[in-house]
């Protein structure tokens, strides 16, 4: 117990003494009064006692009340003191902006970064998908390791076979989302429509608000055309009409009967990555007739719901077993050779992982980076607090010597630390909130649930707990060093720092430098990788190219010949638009992904006859395509021959794989073994269909004009490219829409954008990771340089006496400067060495995000280390100069 309280306790009598005295006084006074009325002393005493009641019992009761009262009073006094301390602390902090502003802002940056990424990680990566039992949802694809393209979707026949035979799934769904013309006349527009098998609703656990779900029979060839509406569409386009069932809606030119309305909030997994207004509006039955001839065409998406206790492994084993039997189950579509060549097998992954792709990993890395920034910030703030405590050591020792207990001193220090940490938490949350909005706008377009990310209760709670803990630790840092008594007072006046404390501060700076190096190295690697990506020759000249998509209503354009005729007429019309030099169409564009493939047989390529030929992208293009895209072309472009056959073009990569070191022009290739081969008349420069990071694609280009003997599947959905120097979406959008509208008012112009935007969009995830990690490392670097500067300044001020004695004894000023610089370089170098070691361990996590750079790229690591050395020099320059300019006499006097 501390001195003053002991003293106070002596002055204040205990409750028993108080009560005893009070009761005694009463009995005494009453006895005297009764005696005055003529009673005898004994009788008076007895009467007084009788009037009082049992003195023992009342005394006990009174003492109990007094004790309670005293305890309550003590508590309220403590509160009062605490509030008082906080008020003093606030005043002290406000008076010292040199301490409080850096401490506060450092923590705000650290907390803001960590809170923002914690929120994203929690809500995008960790939160379950909003379906009942989401862990049972699985995405199904076909793995084809034998083909360059790693995964395909599912084919209809394959799906029906799985659905019929598997015991591992409660429900399976085959689907595809398409932009489709909906409505007719003035109301015609394009909407996202899901073509789906009947298993979708049971698989997702979706229920109907009205009517019925899709049934297997809806997909049969002879079925009535039906449609199911999303709840939102029902509300928005039909005002939630109760008589909706049975009404008809034109979808893709076909009148469909509305048979049901989904419950609100039902979404396909793909919709999480779409902005709200691009949500799927209609579910239309996918044509899926068991009597259809099985085809080897793996272009559909599929998902499934596992049986309640089935594991992913068991389901995989089940489907693998079924897949191995495909050649006997569906011999028309799957041959043993095909299975062997492609390595065809089912690929299953949890739906959540499938939606996140590599983004989950990127977000974990970014969260780790944010935690490192927070660590650097904490180290920095700790250093600031240590310095402050150092300055006030004398004051605290005086307080302790005057009898202030550890508890009251702790309160004094804690008050200050909490007043920094808690507001920093609040401001950090505000920063995180603002940061999240920026994050969402710059996030990759396939970032699931991005629009829904918001600061949640758990983030707020985590930040609050962190701020409390940080404040407590920072405040209590010096308490264990406070000694009581006059001896402490005697030596606290001297300026020499406690050696342990100085060592702690140096260690903190070393840690900061090391952590900054890790972050800088990570950012540097991503930057180099990104520059590598952008430096990859795209094979096209995207500048001055505009592109858009058109979708033809299926109902009125049934035959591929009709498509082609429309396309060619449209191109003629486009060429008349002022500013457009050349126009062309293609079934797929570079850098925008490519689903599926066609069987291609290059002759004289040493392929086994009768085996399953390789499955490769076949793109149909109009004649001007290569000119518009700036793809170098050796030979005439693909065209229809007078015999209604085709001349085709292959890519360099294709030629290199199948006819290495031979002239490809003049060779022949067919689609499948049975088809008559076509003549290769030209070789086109390489392009990448997926992204700049992928390998050059092995592509065959066919003409868009219809051919006689077979017609490659021509889509009613096609991409148009225009070479129009100086044209922008704003300047040419209306002209283009008008031109297409004049040809057919039901054909919409979609996704009009510069080709450059598509190229850039293929790298958004890389750009996203790089920018955020760059931001994190810049913040960490700034913080650690501040910390270094602070510590060196402090060390110089501590050594000022010694340095001035050196100067007075004739040391040269530049030697003193070197001494100081060397001191800080030693710290920085230790940090750099430790940081490099950590970096080599940690950057391996980045491996999957890197393109063309090793995670231990010596150039990057060396460059980052050199940068830190230079910046260390800069940060220590000011303190070093101060040391050199010390006037010995002044330093000696002031100490």
């Amino acid at each position: 117990m501390s001195g003053w309280r002991r003293a106070f306790r002596l002055v204040r009598p205990s409750a028993e003494v108080d009560v005893g005295e009070e009761v005694h006084f009463h009995l005494e006074s009453r006895t005297v009064d009764l005696e005055a009325q003529g009673m005898g002393r004994e009788a008076a005493r007895a009467q007084a006692l009788e009037e009082f009641g049992d003195p023992q019992a009342f005394r006990r009761e009174l003492v109990a009340i007094d004790r309670r009262m005293a305890a309550r009073r003590r508590r309220s006094e403590q509160w009062y003191h605490a509030v008082q301390e906080l008020r003093y602390a606030a005043r002290r902090i406000a008076r010292q902006p040199g301490f409080s502003v850096p401490a506060l802002s450092t923590l705000v940056i650290g907390i803001g970064a960590a809170a923002a990424l914690f929120t994203v990680l929690q809500q995008v990566v960790l939160a379950p998908l909003p379906y009942p039992d989401p862990d049972r949802l699985v995405r199904l694809r076909s793995a084809v390791p034998g083909v360059g393209n790693a995964h395909w979707g599912l084919a209809k026949a394959q799906f029906l076979y799985y659905e019929r035979e598997t015991r591992s799934f409660e429900a399976l769904a085959l689907y595809r989302i398409e932009q489709t013309p909906v409505g007719s006349g003035a109301d015609a527009r394009v909407a996202a429509v899901a073509l789906t098998s009947s298993g979708m609703a049971p698989a997702l656990g979706a229920r109907m608000a009205r009517g019925r779900a899709l049934r297997p029979a809806d997909g049969f060839d002879a079925a009535e055309p039906v449609v199911v509406l999303s709840h939102r569409t029902w509300r928005r386009d039909f005002e939630g009409s109760e008589s909706i069932l049975g009404r008809t809606l034109r979808v893709d030119g076909i009148a469909r009967t509305v048979v049901g309305v989904l419950e609100p909030g039902v979404r396909l997994p793909e919709e999480f990555a779409l902005p709200g207004d691009a949500a799927v509006e209609l579910w239309v039955p996918l044509p899926l007739d068991p009597s259809e001839v099985p085809r080897n065409n793996h272009t559909y998406r599929a998902l499934g719901r596992l049986q309640p206790h089935a594991s992913l492994q068991a389901a995989h084993a089940d489907l693998s077993r079924l897949s191995e039997a495909l050649p006997s189950a569906l011999p028309q579509a799957y041959t043993a050779t095909f299975m062997r060549e492609t390595g065809f097998s089912p690929a299953l992954e949890p739906l959540r992982d499938a939606l996140l792709g590599t983004l989950g990993r990127v977000l974990w890395i970014l969260f780790g980076a944010a935690l490192l920034v927070l660590l650097v910030a904490c180290a920095n703030v700790t250093n600031l607090f240590l310095a402050r405590h150092e300055v006030r050591r004398h004051e605290l020792t005086v307080r302790a010597a005057l009898g202030a207990g550890r508890r009251s001193i702790a309160l004094y220090l804690l008050g200050e630390a909490w007043l920094i940490a808690l507001p920093a938490g609040a401001l950090g949350l505000a920063l995180a909130g603002a940061g999240l909005r920026v994050l969402v706008t710059m996030s990759p377009s396939d970032f699931p649930r991005a629009a829904e990310v918001h600061l949640g209760l758990s983030t707020v709670a985590a930040v609050f707990l962190f701020a409390m803990a940080a404040g407590t630790l920072l405040g209590l840092l010096p308490v264990w060093r406070i000694r009581e008594g006059p001896a402490a007072l005697a030596d606290s006046g001297r300026g020499s720092p406690a050696p342990a404390r100085a060592a702690l501060r140096r260690a903190l700076v070393v840690a900061q430098v090391a952590l900054s190096l890790v972050l800088l190295a990570g950012a540097g690697l991503l930057l180099r990788s990104f520059r590598g990506l952008t430096a990859v020759p795209t094979g096209i000249d995207a500048r001055e190219v505009l592109t858009f998509n058109v979708a033809l209503p299926w109902g009125r354009y049934q035959a591929p010949a009709a498509f082609a005729e429309f396309y060619l007429r449209m191109l003629d019309r486009m060429r008349q638009v002022p500013g457009i030099q050349e126009a062309a169409v293609a079934t797929a564009l570079p850098m925008s992904g490519y689903d599926g493939c066609s069987l291609v047989v290059p002759h004289d390529a040493g392929l086994e006859p009768r085996g399953q030929p390789p499955c490769l992208p076949v793109i149909q293009v109009s004649e001007g395509y290569f000119r518009v895209m700036g793809i170098p072309l050796r030979g005439p472009p693909p065209a229809r021959t007078p015999a209604l056959r085709a001349t085709v073009t292959v890519s360099e990569a294709f030629a290199h794989r199948f006819w290495p070191a031979q002239e490809p022009v003049g060779r022949r290739l067919g689609q499948g073994w049975r088809a008559d081969p076509e003549q290769v008349t030209a070789v086109a420069g390489d392009v990448r269909l997926i992204s700049p990071g992928s390998a050059p694609s092995e592509v065959v280009y066919f003409p868009i004009e219809p051919l006689q003997f077979y017609t490659p599947w021509l889509s009613p959905f096609i991409r148009v490219v225009l070479r129009a120097p100086g044209a922008t979406v704003a300047s040419h959008g209306p002209l283009i829409r008008q031109a297409v509208g004049e040809l057919d008012s039901e054909v919409p112009v979609m996704d009009l954008q510069p080709m450059q935007a598509i190229v850039e969009a293929s790298m958004t995830q890389e750009r996203f990771a790089m920018s955020l990690l760059g931001l994190a490392s810049a913040a960490a670097l700034a913080l650690s340089l501040l910390g270094l500067y602070g510590v060196i300044s402090y060390l110089v001020s501590q050594r000022l006496l010694e340095l001035s004695i050196r100067l007075a004894l004739g040391a040269r000023a530049d030697a003193v400067g070197r001494l100081v610089l060397w001191q800080s370089f030693r710290l920085a170098l230790t940090g750099i060495v430790l940081g490099l070691a950590a970096t080599i361990g940690l950057t391996r996590l980045l491996q999957s995000q890197l393109f063309g750079v090793s995670p231990t790229d010596p150039l990057t690591l060396g460059g980052v280390a050199a940068l830190l050395v230079v910046l260390t020099g800069a940060a220590s320059w000011v303190p070093a100069r101060r040391a050199m300019r010390t006037e010995p006499i002044r330093a000696l006097r002031s100490s």
Partner: protein, 114 residues
């Protein structure tokens, strides 16, 4: 106990104590004497209960206490009414008057016709 002494109703003691202290601060014995004298000894209160009331009212914040010197020069604990206590007295006194009036009305009511 003489037949003319009245037992106190619950809570009444508090009002009496507050009333005693509303005139001037007093020590506990003076409060007891005040009640005995003003009621002509009609109200029967155990003095111990009176002290319990004093301490409770102090705990409640209606009274404040401090040690001082009695007329005889002896050390005694003096109680005085706090502003809260004064407001409470007003409220309790009103309440008490209403209570008394209500009981009186019932007692004076004419007999009902049978």
């Amino acid at each position: 106990m003489s037949p003319h002494e009245l037992d106190l109703l619950q809570g009444t003691l508090d009002v009496l104590v507050l009333r005693a202290l509303s005139i001037t601060p007093r020590h506990g014995y003076a409060v007891a004497r005040f009640i005995r004298d003003r009621s002509d000894g009609k109200l029967r209160v155990l003095d111990g209960a009176l002290y319990t009331a004093l301490h409770r009212l102090e705990e409640r914040g209606w009274l404040a206490a401090e040690w001082g010197r009695a007329e005889t020069g002896k050390r005694a604990k003096f109680y005085r009414l706090t502003p809260t206590g004064r407001r409470a007295l007003r409220a309790e006194a009103d309440h008490w008057a209403e209570y008394v009036a209500a009981v009186a009305r019932v007692l004076r009511a004419p007999p009902e016709p049978a």
